[in-house]
Symmetry: C2
Subunit: 348 residues, 2 copies
């Protein structure tokens, strides 16, 4: 299949008015023979005023006849606030665990009647991104990773955001923090390997840019686990492809390592296969442990040991956001929410 990009010049038609104009509440009012106020009351089921049943019917019929749909922007302009929760769209393909989690969060927010806007901040740096987000006047902003600083938070709050929640490793001034410190993931893995008698431990660090947010803390965690012991930690940069893994496997004996924490289960699968293809036995010659506890780890032979990651239910985060929105004065909450536990199987 071939795709040819076609550049079309700005059409002259684009500046002409729409063929048929979009119906407004005024149109509905006209058709129903009432005022715009009445239309608003009826369609919003405003309990404050009593409208006679015949009038209500006329209004509703007029609305559906015209195919009237209220204009969210106008409404929130008038109301002075929106129900928009903004989340920056991940710039790079992040693992299945995380993207699944974001989906869950999305759903939970939707159930609380928020509109989730994923804003791609490609190419925007720091406060620039925050300013772009602020233009949408979101009532809340959820920022994964280390995508915002205190100035960014200030910009958002000044623009009316009632809650800023970070999902990263470090708290940010002025924002609620759900601390998801991947350091503990690495620590778990390192401690486990050490307890299993391994002393010379390699740690895979993906070359894919943008994964640093996760991979650096995971590496640091292993370092901490081995600190003050007779164990050593060796950093192993690795691309997510077979050649890269084969090269690592070829160097393996020279490296003198006896175990590897492979960043996550997908990288672990890659590494384990390369090691096995190079004639090394897992776990005898090399213990391998992954992270994220994906299904595929259970299907490998030997079965892959991994670090299971416990994240708060999307519902919980959504509730935190909702609470913060309804009570913007409250002091920023700050809590660690990432649980890491080793799942010991056969590869270590």
């Amino acid at each position: 299949m071939r795709y040819v990009m076609v550049q079309i010049p700005e059409s002259t038609a684009s500046s002409s008015p729409a063929p048929h104009s979009v119906p407004t509440s005024a149109d509905v009012a006209r058709l129903a023979g009432v005022s715009r106020a009445t239309v608003s009351y009826v369609l919003n089921n405003s309990g404050a005023v009593r409208i006679s049943e015949p009038t209500r019917r006329r209004v509703r019929e007029a609305a559906s006849e015209l195919g009237y749909v209220p204009h969210a922007a106008a409404r929130s302009l008038r109301a002075g606030h929106s129900r928009i929760v903004l989340m920056p769209a991940p710039a790079i393909p992040v693992g299945p665990l995380y993207s699944h989690y974001l989906n869950e969060l999305h759903g939970a927010l939707g159930r609380l009647d928020y509109t989730v806007v994923q804003h791609g901040s490609a190419g925007l740096h720091g406060d620039e991104a925050a300013r772009a987000w602020a233009e949408l006047r979101p009532v809340a902003v959820i920022v994964p990773g280390a995508g915002i600083g205190p100035e960014g938070v200030a910009v958002l709050k000044r623009s009316g955001a009632r809650a800023v929640v970070t999902l990263g490793p470090d708290p940010v001034d002025g924002a609620h923090a759900l601390l998801m410190d991947h350091e503990s993931v690495g620590h778990c893995a390192g401690a486990h390997l050490y307890a299993r008698g391994r002393r010379r431990i390699g740690v895979v660090v993906p070359e894919e840019r943008g994964l640093d947010v996760f991979s650096r803390p995971r590496l640091a965690g292993v370092r901490r686990a081995l600190h003050g012991t007779d164990g050593t930690v060796t950093e192993l940069p690795l691309g997510y492809d077979e050649e890269s893994a084969a090269r690592l496997a070829a160097r393996w004996r020279g490296l003198g390592l006896d175990a590897v924490f492979a960043y996550n289960d997908e990288y672990a699968m890659l590494v384990m296969r390369a090691l096995q293809d190079a004639g090394l036995r897992v776990p005898e010659d090399a213990a391998v442990i992954g992270a994220d506890d994906l299904m595929l780890g259970r299907l490998l032979r030997p079965r892959l040991s991994t670090v299971h990651i416990d994240l708060p239910p999307g519902r919980y985060v959504a509730d935190l956001v909702d609470r913060a929105v309804r009570n913007p004065g409250a002091a920023p909450e700050r809590q660690a929410v990432l649980g890491a536990t080793v799942v010991h199987r056969e590869s270590t």
Copy 2:
């Protein structure tokens, strides 16, 4: 880690005014000692009017001093149109291939300066969803799967959407269609298995609801490939868990099948492992083919045959949307964009 849901009553503080009000262009004008019109000209670099350099500076300084950020809703209300492209958020966790693709599309749209809004339409049916989307007055709507009908398209167009693009298997009246027919994926797999001498073919149909959009056509494609031959097709419902796969493997000999198309590579890995654990040889006793050409297939032993899926670059789809937006009068385009080719490895 335990999470306790806390219900907080509506705070009385929530109805009190914001502690400090959000600066508007009027505030900037006041501080700079000019009119709001001038502020607008300066901040939008309007070429139509000439503003003296000193004035420009004063305005810009005032804006940054106040931390002024324009209000997108007000702007698009005035302009009569937005730059919002709406995409329904996938209700169920969809495969890595697809979610990666949506991300790519998202990025490409962002580069064209559109704001992507992912709207979770959980619980909304048909036109209800379309109406909810229409409230945001998106300039374009991209609907994956079979999430909209002709009436939905009409609702959106009537509300000002200049382009509706479907990404599903069937074209919808009034909308542009990028036909991604997974039937051809199944057809590919079926034809390949038949050519390799297999005659009694099982097709895995995931039990996970919401995957039907993909799995049904894939099944139908296999049926078509085998139609009029001496081959047979057997539907194999399967949950994404080891027990379910083990049950299938236990039934395998009784089923009398000699090959299986496993929906995608992840299910294929699950099935292949279960078959091997049950003492069956792949491909001798059972040929296994997946789909989506994920990395993991290359890492299995035997290496997994698969159907590689070719999707148009995100950039291409974004350009189509952009073209449609700028030229709303044009007839709906309609083209098949899903390429499927077998990658023959060792499992078939």
